[in-house]
């Protein structure tokens, strides 16, 4: 059986050229993500994790190394595959189309790919929303919803297309801590349902450990993988585990490594690139 959603990142480098400065954003980064694995990258802002995500998604080119999805190269020095529904992104500040209702937003993918007709897609969207506990908001516009709800709809919009990989770019960054916790649990529930490969980036260490199967710590710019941590909690997880001794031990283990990077990023004081 061919694995679905295995990502291989091999010696990837990326050089930005803002104003001729030749900034090395990512430096020989490598990692292998197994199908269905929930992988989280942690690092200070500006360390290059978004760059990596954008490269996997097909929005940016890389200047060295290669990225493969299920053995097929999707990003190399010469070539970047078009963004597609096999690796869908959930964006940091939300990208629900403000001019469409929730239902139309979620139904967007299937309709546009020709996988279903409009009414069929809307049916499918409605049932997915209900399964995820979001029934009743189909007719609302995004700006009428709270940020937590918007994020959930966006996750639904991605999942309806059954992507091989779900890429999440600090999706809960702009939320307050309380809403964030609930949103994280929602994501875990959705993940448990579909068990797709997840590539999640964040700067929040606690979030990383709570969500991940594996946490990778990235250094400040130029970014490379500094440390890997396996999180052996079973699934499904719930918020109570955040107070357990095991969790605290994991946190302590990684905290030093992350903190060191955060301090040097703070002192370097460089502006974060997109």
């Amino acid at each position: 059986m061919t694995p679905a959603g295995a990502i291989n990142i091999h010696n990837v480098s990326k050089v930005y050229d803002p104003g001729g400065a030749n900034v090395l954003a990512v430096d020989n980064c490598s990692m292998d993500i197994a199908p269905g694995e929930f992988c989280v990258i942690v690092g200070p802002s500006g360390c290059g994790k978004t760059t990596l995500l954008n490269a996997i998604a097909g929005f940016h080119e890389i200047t060295g190394g290669e990225i493969r999805l299920d053995g097929r190269p999707i990003c190399t020095r010469e070539f970047t595959a078009e963004p597609g529904a096999d690796r869908i992104v959930v964006f940091q500040n939300g990208a629900l189309f403000p001019w469409s209702t929730v239902l139309n937003n979620v139904a967007y993918g299937p309709v546009v790919q020709g996988a279903a007709s409009r009414p069929e897609a809307k049916q499918k969207a409605q049932s997915l929303l209900s399964e995820l506990g979001l029934s009743g908001i189909g007719g609302r516009y995004p700006n009428e919803l709270s940020s937590g709800m918007r994020r959930r709809v966006e996750i639904a919009r991605a999942l309806i297309n059954e992507p091989k990989v779900l890429l999440l770019d600090e999706p809960f960054r702009a939320m307050d801590a309380l809403t964030k916790g609930v949103a994280q649990e929602f994501l875990l529930q959705a993940y448990d349902r579909v068990r797709k490969t997840v590539f999640f980036i964040t700067h929040d260490l606690e979030e990383a450990i709570f969500l991940a199967d594996r946490v990778l710590v990235m250094t400040t710019r130029p970014g490379r993988i500094k440390q890997t941590l396996h999180v052996d909690f079973g699934r499904p997880r719930n918020f109570k585990m955040r107070a357990s001794k095991q969790y605290l031990a994991l946190k302590t283990q990684v905290f030093e490594a992350v903190r060191e990077e955060a301090v040097s990023a703070f002192e370097a004081g460089e502006r974060e690139l997109a």
Binding site: I88, W99, V112
Partner: protein, 318 residues
């Protein structure tokens, strides 16, 4: 008490100072906050509430006073005190008398069909100009904003032609359309030009204002080009398009009136110039005020259509 808002406590002198300073930029502390759940209050009672609140403030009465003051000033300077240069101008009384008389001296009043014919011709011309400007300008603007290559080819030409005032085209317009519909076409063409530039520019700006992230989201959801155009570019640019249309109608009117004054037959601009030439001064004022009202109505209609089509815009920003 624990729930007394902080600014009501403390010394009155400080409160006075804060209020005066806030009034420096006339911050409207008197506006009521919006009721929370819009779904539960009927629109009718909401409108009634807002109307009552509006009437309870000073703003409508001051506004009325302002307009009345203007008319009074006009009256006093032209007819009452007979101020030297002002007395050559027609005053509100003579204008009103002329406007409301069944058999007006100069042939134009609310009872004469000619009045409405002039209005009709002006409106008809603006509508034609507006139609062509929208039909040609919006797609052009959308493409210019969306595809860099297309913009590179078309924008320079546009930027070179745009600074030329629309009315400088009058002779050229007359020459171009010398053969066909030589009376109407130049006038409509000029109004079209003005509206066209405003529309294209604003539409283009509208597309450029769409956050990159929406394009990315659409692409990774599997969109093809036509999907991106119709489901991201077009709706995303809509607010700017309507702003452009409003501006376009304004400058369209402006150019139309001027074109009518220079080379028209019928229409409000023509009426103004003609009555000046024939020394029918009250009619000038009638025509000017009619222009103001009709122009304003046009903008308002577009604005209303715009806000109806774009109910999804962020209400909290209004």
């Amino acid at each position: 008490m624990a729930d007394t808002p902080r600014r009501n406590r403390g010394c009155p002198a400080r409160r006075k100072r804060v209020e005066r300073a806030l009034s420096v930029v006339a911050i409207d502390t008197s506006r009521p906050s919006r009721p929370a759940a819009t779904g539960q209050i009927s629109t009718w009672s909401l409108s009634l509430f807002r109307l009552r609140h509006w009437l309870s403030q000073s703003s409508p009465y001051l506004g009325f006073l302002g307009v009345a003051g203007l008319v009074l000033l006009w009256y006093l300077s032209t007819e009452f005190f007979n101020v030297p240069r002002f007395n050559k101008l027609p005053g509100p009384v003579s204008v009103w008398r002329e406007f409301t008389s069944a058999s007006p001296t100069f042939g134009i009043s609310i009872y004469t069909p000619e009045y409405y014919m002039h209005i009709f011709w002006s409106i008809w011309r603006v509508l034609q100009a507006f139609f062509w400007a929208t039909v040609l300008g919006v797609p052009l603007g959308l493409f210019m904003g969306w595809k860099r290559t297309f913009r590179d080819y078309t924008f320079p030409v546009l930027e070179i032609v745009r600074p030329i005032p629309v009315l400088a085209w009058v002779p050229v317009a007359i020459l171009i359309f010398a053969g066909i519909a030589s009376r109407e076409a130049p006038v409509i063409f000029l109004a079209f030009l003005a509206t066209f530039f405003a529309t294209v520019l604003n539409t283009m700006l509208g597309v450029e204002s769409i956050d990159e992230v929406y394009f990315r989201a659409a692409r990774c959801l599997g969109s093809k080009s036509r999907h991106i155009f119709f489901r991201v570019v077009l709706p995303g640019a809509l607010p700017f398009i309507f702003t452009g249309l409003q501006i376009g109608v304004g400058v369209g009117w402006f150019s139309l009136v001027a074109a009518e004054m220079i080379s028209g037959e019928y229409g409000l601009g023509f009426l103004i110039w003609d009555s000046y030439v024939l020394s029918q001064f009250p009619v000038i004022i009638i025509a000017m005020l009619t222009l103001g009202v009709v122009g304003y109505a046009f903008s308002a209609i577009i604005r209303i259509i715009g806000s109806t089509l774009m109910r999804w815009t962020d209400r909290s920003a209004l």
